[in-house]
Amino acid sequence: MTSKPTIRERRDMSVCSHHQKKPTRCNALPAGIIMGSDEGLLNSAENLKNALAKPVFKNLSRRAPWL
């Protein structure tokens, strides 16, 4: 009898859109991306810049008509 996988194991088994399969929530970092040290800091900043460039941020930060 095999034991049921834990949540962490299931998450690790799931594949993300980077791996060309059915996309699920991807918590794993893509291979080759370093998040530690100075280079990691730059990568984090790059990630943040890319995230903020998404149209959704522009859309939701619309000025309210009464302001």
Partner: protein, 422 residues
């Protein structure tokens, strides 16, 4: 810029999504208090519509037919069957209005229903709604326009700036009409919706089963609509109705919104209402719900951004759904609608098709999640796609008349539902 296919090249529809014009007109008449819709055509036309409405709204629905048979179709130009139908209806019940619409059969014959209506001494609104043109949305709009033309009295007094006429498109659920009315009323206006399904087909438990529509705008209220100072039309299909109403009173101001889904569209409505009232800010709940929607957009965009959507709906509904998804990072790869309208160019989707569910099946590799009516359920099962039911008809769920996707509040719950399903 979307790729738009305005017309199907197939000789027939396979797994159709299009619903007929008389059905839309009948639904509009059901938004008038104590109204009896009367379809001039074969019995099948009426029973089909009655079954659709009864199953969708889970309520008894009052519709009558002129029961044109093969012999009557040859010998009668509508005079006999319509007059007899009105006699039968008024013998049993006392409606405040009879809404008479035609079908494919009687339009092909060319029956003069306006001429017949002149012979009948009873409040009657007539509308030409051939099955072979338009769809549910245009039938609703035509009936609404006919009610304005034939019932609304031209204004003789000065306009009442506190009164607003709301003209909603066909795909607004009863609770959505109510929410929009409440939203506008929150700015101090007295609001009348034409047609008003929010008090007729909202699924309330009445004292007894009514033989007529129980709720909706009253005929006396329709007659006085020209006294309103402001008209707001929702959906491009309703723009001509607003123009017709303005013709009854040139002093009336008109504002048009293509839809009320998502942040930008609701902001536009708020801006209109602030401009009209001169208020500096909206009521506090409106401010709070805007903030909640902003948060919902932020929370849902991770899931929405990873899914590709097929949206199937009437043109005005489709415009709103696609825009709400796009605002929160969703990508509508295929949008399928029922009829060709000028508003198709405003739909935010990669491909817009006037077609049927066979088209959707052939493009199954292009989407992960379907948003559409009950007819999409079989497609979702066959193609193993996720499904969110929206639009008419929906026979699979109860409580659909209580679900709303509009304004800040409804858009928040819509985005969360889509994100949870994706």
């Amino acid at each position: 810029m979307a790729v738009i296919r305005h017309k199907s090249t197939k000789p027939l529809q396979v797994n159709p999504i299009k619903l007929s014009q008389p059905m839309g007109a009948t639904l509009a008449f059901l938004g008038v208090d104590r109204c009896m819709p009367l379809m001039h055509g074969g019995q099948g036309c009426t029973s089909f519509t009655k079954v659709y409405f009864t199953r969708h709204f889970c309520e008894p629905v009052a519709i009558q037919t002129s029961a044109v048979t093969d012999a009557i179709a040859v010998l009668d130009g509508g005079d006999y069957s319509i007059v007899e139908s009105v006699k039968n209806i008024t013998r049993k019940v006392s409606p405040s209005l009879i809404g008479l619409c035609t079908t494919g059969l009687t339009e092909t014959k060319g029956d003069d229903i306006r001429g017949v209506a002149r012979q009948i001494d009873f409040p009657l609104v007539t509308v030409h709604t051939p099955d072979y043109e338009g769809g549910l949305e245009s039938g609703w709009a035509l009936a609404c326009k006919a009610m304005i033309e034939q019932l609304v009295a031209p204004a003789v007094t000065a306009v009442n700036d506190n009164t607003v006429v709301l003209l909603p498109h066909v795909s607004l659920q009863p609770i959505e009409v109510e929410k929009v009315k409440e939203f506008v009323a929150g700015f101090g206006f007295n609001v009348f919706a034409l047609p008003d399904l929010s008090t007729s087909l909202d699924g309330h438990l009445g004292e007894k089963q009514a033989a007529l529509s129980s709720g909706g705008i009253r005929v006396e209220e329709i007659r006085a609509l020209a006294e309103a100072g402001l008209v707001i039309s929702v959906g491009d299909s309703m723009r001509s109705c607003a123009t017709t109403l303005q013709a009854k009173n040139p002093e009336m101001r008109h504002h048009h919104v293509p839809h009320l889904s998502g942040l930008a569209a609701t902001d536009r409505l708020v801006a209109i209402l602030l401009e009209e009232t001169g208020f500096s800010s909206p009521p506090l709940p409106v401010v709070r719900w805007r903030q909640r929607l902003q948060d919902a957009m932020l929370d849902s965009h991770f899931a929405l951004g990873q899914s590709r959507f097929l949206v199937v709906a009437e043109p005005d509904h489709l415009t709103g759904l696609c825009k709400a998804l796009q605002e929160a990072g969703g990508r509508t790869t295929v949008a399928i609608t029922t009829v060709d309208t000028p508003s198709l160019k405003d739909i935010v989707a990669e491909r817009v098709i006037v077609g049927d569910l066979e088209d959707a099946e052939q493009l199954a590799a292009d989407y992960d999640l379907i948003i559409g009516n009950g007819h999409c359920e079989a497609l979702a099962h066959r193609q193993a796609k996720k499904l969110i039911l929206r639009g008419f008809p929906n026979w699979e769920q109860v409580g659909i008349t209580l679900k709303h996707d509009l304004l800040y509040e409804g858009s928040s719950s819509f985005l969360c539902e889509v994100a949870n399903t994706a």
